[in-house]
Amino acid sequence: MMLGGAFIKDRRTPVYLGIGGLLAILAACAVELKTGRPLLVIDVKDMLHANSFNLTFIMVALGCTLLYFLLNGRDFEKVGPHVSEYFALIFFILCGVSIVATFNTLLMLFLGIEIISIPLYILTGSDKRNLKSNEAALKYFLMGSFSTGIMLLGIAFMYGGNVMGTFFINNMNLGSGPMPALIGVGLVLLMVSMSFKVSAAPFHFWTPDVYDGAPTVFTSFMASIVKVASFFAFVRLFESAFGTLQSQWQTLVAVITAATLIIGNLTAVFQQSVKRMLAYSSIAQAGFMLLALFALNDTAKEGLVLYAAAYSLATIGLFAVLVKMKDYTVDGFNGLSKQQPLLALTVTIFLLSLTGIPLTAGFQAKFYMLWAAIQNGHHFWLVILAVLCAAISAYYYFRIIQAMYFRENSETVMNEWDITPSFKYLLLITAVLIIVLGIFPNLVIDWLHY
């Protein structure tokens, strides 16, 4: 049964149309999940394959995007005059996100990732007068293409290595015996390129520079939705194609995860710029999400959806505030609680969620990850490492909280005129969502069980 991808058509421009479209798709997804019947069927020749897992994820992604638009819609104008183009590009990316969430063949994976990447290169460089933005775009582009090359080589080997001679990931029939050499090479190369996309160490080097250089509004999108989408692709690929061989590549994932956790968390500690710090923290969070790949069981998948929601919400919220800041350094947050108590409160909740403090969605997400990893039963040291790194993460997240609450600042730290009441309430809603998800994660997970 082929479930249609009613949602992969793109919508062009005006903001309201975009938001309306998003809502429509969101509703369609929800109905489809609830009833199990698609609204609109397109024969996709099994190249895309939707199930409750990736549909739920798409819902999460769409919901987050909606929130993202609502929070940041006005800030697009600051980047440049081509607002409608930016919207278009973001919708293209969303299209790519949907593809990578539902792909069933390596070709669609490749196309989906490219559809995500190419607009991203552009968005990164969209602040044309800003040298940092230029530099980030070029770096991103060069390294992204390089990783594309690696991915293609990997795909080629996969193609050559499976006896069925197919690109369909569920038809490869790799069995569970020792894997053929060609498959082995392909697997490593695919893992490398996917690690690059999710910015796992040691293939993460583009992340800080690009996140830092790109206009903040777009960094927000990149760091949240795009990132978790790549994760979905990663997990989906390795689950469908290599799930039976898990024991043979688990060590690799463990190594990558460990490296990611260590490098991400360690480097974030010393950052002065909050934006850059968040870039590193996103690497660190990626390390945690990699635990899902490492474990690759039902718990992991549930957790990944939860993580996607928790992480995206918090990141979008944080960046939305960051956009309004005058100074991106940690000291720039000094005294925020005095000037904007509500914003400070929401930022605190976002940070607590990222740290993984109970009663926030971030805790539930991390909890699921740890649960999954322990359930998996191998490489227990990784779990310990993960929690130690989580403790380190508290160190840098709390620096912002300290700056906001315990330090004084006489100057205004935000562009006051920019902060509308609706913005505040939206942020508050985001924060409340995080807490609600922290108390009732079932709100998300239930969707997986329809």
């Binding site: 070029l138 770096k139 060069l142 390294m143 390089f146 990783s147 690696i150 082995g184 090479v185 697997l187 490593v188 190369l189 893992m191 490398v192 690059f196 160490a201 040691p202 293939f203 080097f205 583009w206 800080p208 520079d209 590549w249 060590t251 690799l252 190594v255 990558i256 260590i262 490098i263 360690l266 480097t267 974030a268 500690v269 010393f270 380190i392 160190y395």
Partner: protein, 632 residues
């Protein structure tokens, strides 16, 4: 008579009430009232004690259970009182001497402000309460409660004048040294609990068969450690002389008559255990004797009137332990009683002198007080005779009984003991002569001020003198009077069990006569010598030299402790504080943070900004992954 036993709980509770009233109402009570409450409650206890004593004499020795104190798992400790010969005797001593001292204090402390006066009596009452608890407890835990309680009161009373930091230091020293002993006591109690499952005296003594020799020796030694703390024996005796910082009646009550004898009480109470542990007995005897001699030598060269008395107390306590060590429990307890009488008398007399001298305590500034203070002088002289062991005063009988028992066990010890007795006679009469004889060496102002003390002071003196004189007659040795030892008869049930197992050294009466004559005559000689020598004492500025200086400085024991124990501990704690804690443990904890920071700085450098470097690192990463995948 059972009616009386129902009142037993009142004995400690009355002073406690006094404490509460005086303590809580100290701002509102007049001096007279608080003095009345303080003395009255003790008097009440005394009356009941006498009734109880009479009841006990008739053979009523019950254990009275009030309520469960600690009741957890196998550990069952009741709040029980035991009334028997030993405790009723101590009750009498405590309440009796205590009452006299309360009365004495009403006058002695009269210059204090009303609230301090009330506070003083509150403390004093609290002390009596604790002491009563100590002797009445039917198990080691209740005893320990009293045991620590008296330590606390001693601390509070020594530091009564808390403006003076020397006094505070002395108080602290007393408390800490006591605590060292208390630890031994506690450990012994735990040992008992561990082996016999109970702390009741009766239970422990009944279950003594469960204990091995090691157990008994260990327990008794630990208990003895406790006793050395409380009763100021080597090595924990140094607090007692310092404790003279407190008001003189306190010294009389706590540091002479009652608290310091707690150790003797405890060992006497546990006599069965000790009788079964010969090793411990030997230790007790040797420690006691050494203390007696050491303290006596120090007392020879002290010039502070109270210090002399203090060392003399230590010395006398040493004799008591010597007695306990050779199994002469009755003798030791007898000596406790007589000592309580004459030492209280001496202290109170000294207090009277100090009172007259407006606080002056240095004997070199006294002299010739005989003509100013008739009653004090006379009572003091009798007290000195009693302590020096002159017949027929109380001290003679009790000391003689101990020495006789020692001789029976080991003549060498006896010899040393007699030497100690000679020294006692010497320093006591040095004290007497320097204070009362010769001519006055103080300032004119003091001389002008000299007077006999008021009635509240002299009456207790006289009562105590009476007791010092006749107190010994309840225990006249067999050799002098057949059946004269009522005291031993009375206590016999308490020591029956241990008497049954100890080997009796019987001595002929002639030997006993000989011993008495030798010791008394030697003491007499030294007494006279001291009298002659110091009645014409003149103040000199000459520094003591040689052994004299060592004695004057108390064998430098305090300094020794300072270097051997206090300093190293101080050093250790300083080292821990400054090095181990800051640089070691906290340093490590912070070091982890620093390491993370350092690591962060280093890892950060990987992010060089160069695309080429990034790609190179990526390729290296790929290589590593391949190698892991292929070869691992």
């Amino acid at each position: 008579m059972n009616n009386v036993l129902q009142l037993v709980w009142l004995i400690p509770v009355l002073p406690l009430l006094g404490f509460l009233i005086n303590g809580l109402g100290r701002k509102h009570l007049s001096k007279g009232l608080s003095g009345l409450i303080g003395s009255g409650t003790v008097l009440g206890s005394l009356v009941i004690s006498i009734l109880v004593f009479l009841s006990v004499k008739n053979g009523n020795t019950p254990v009275i259970h009030y309520f469960d104190f600690i009741n957890a798992g196998s550990l069952k400790i009741g709040f029980d009182f035991q009334v028997d010969q030993l405790s009723s005797l101590f009750l009498l001593i405590i309440t009796g001497v205590g009452f006299l001292i309360h009365v004495y204090s009403t006058s002695y402390m009269h210059e204090e402000e009303p609230k301090d006066f009330a506070k003083y009596f509150a403390y004093l009452n609290l002390f009596v309460f604790s002491m009563l608890l100590l002797v009445m407890g039917a198990n080691y835990v209740i005893m320990f409660i009293g045991w620590e309680g008296v330590g606390l009161c001693s601390y509070l009373l020594i530091g009564f004048w808390f403006r003076n930091n020397n006094y505070n230091n002395a108080a602290k020293k007393a408390f800490v040294m006591n605590r060292i002993g208390d630890l031994g006591f506690l450990l012994a109690v735990f040992w008992l609990i561990n082996k016999t499952g109970t702390t009741d005296f009766q239970g422990v003594f009944a279950g003594i068969s469960k204990l091995t020799t090691t157990d008994i020796t260990g327990i008794t030694l630990l208990l003895f450690v406790g006793a050395t703390g409380k009763s100021a024996q080597i090595p924990l005796y140094t607090w007692l002389p310092d404790a003279m910082a407190g008001p003189t009646p306190v010294s009389a009550l706590i540091h002479a008559a009652t608290m310091v004898t707690a150790g003797i009480y405890m060992i006497a109470r546990s006599n069965i255990l000790y009788s079964m542990a010969p090793v411990t007995q030997a230790v007790v005897a040797i420690v006691g004797l050494s203390t007696a001699i050491l303290a006596a030598t120090i007392a020879l060269r002290q010039n502070d009137i109270k210090k002399v008395l203090a060392y003399s107390t230590v010395s006398q306590l040493g004799y008591m332990f010597l007695g306990l060590g050779v199994g002469a429990y009755t003798g030791a307890v007898f000596h406790v009683m007589t000592h309580a009488f004459f030492k209280a008398l001496l202290f109170l007399g000294a207090g009277s002198v100090i009172h007259a001298m407006s606080g002056e305590q240095d004997m070199r500034n006294m002299g010739g007080l005989k003509k100013y203070m008739g009653i004090t002088h006379l009572t003091f002289l009798l007290g000195c005779l009693a302590i020096a062991g002159m017949p027929p005063f109380a001290g003679f009988f009790s000391k003689d009984e101990i020495l006789a028992a020692v001789y029976a066990k080991n003549p060498v010890l006896w010899g040393i003991g007699v030497a100690g007795a000679m020294m006692t006679a010497f320093y006591m009469f040095r004290l007497y002569a320097m204070t009362f004889l010769g001519k006055f060496r103080g300032t004119h102002e003091q001389e002008h001020h000299l007077h006999e003390s008021p009635m509240a002071i002299t009456i207790p003196l006289m009562v105590l003198t009476l007791l010092s004189v006749v107190g010994g007659w309840v225990g006249i040795p067999e050799a002098l009077m057949k059946g004269g030892h009522h005291f031993a008869e009375f206590l016999a049930p308490v020591f029956a069990q241990s008497d049954a197992i100890t080997v009796k050294h019987t001595m002929t009466h002639s030997t006993e006569y000989m011993l008495m004559i030798v010791s008394v005559s030697l003491a007499l000689v030294t007494l006279v010598y001291a009298w002659m020598k110091f009645s014409k004492y003149e103040k000199t500025d000459k520094e003591e030299t040689g052994i004299g200086k060592v004695l004057e400085n108390k064998w430098y024991v305090d300094e020794l402790y300072q270097t051997m124990i206090t300093r190293p501990i101080q050093f250790m704690s300083k080292y821990f504080n400054e090095v181990l804690e800051r640089k070691g443990i906290d340093g490590f904890v912070n070091g982890v943070g620093k390491a993370v920071n350092y690591g962060s700085r280093q890892v950060r450098l990987l992010q060089s900004g160069q695309v080429g470097a990034y790609v190179l690192l990526m390729v290296l990463g790929i290589l590593v992954l391949f190698i892991i995948q292929l070869f691992l």
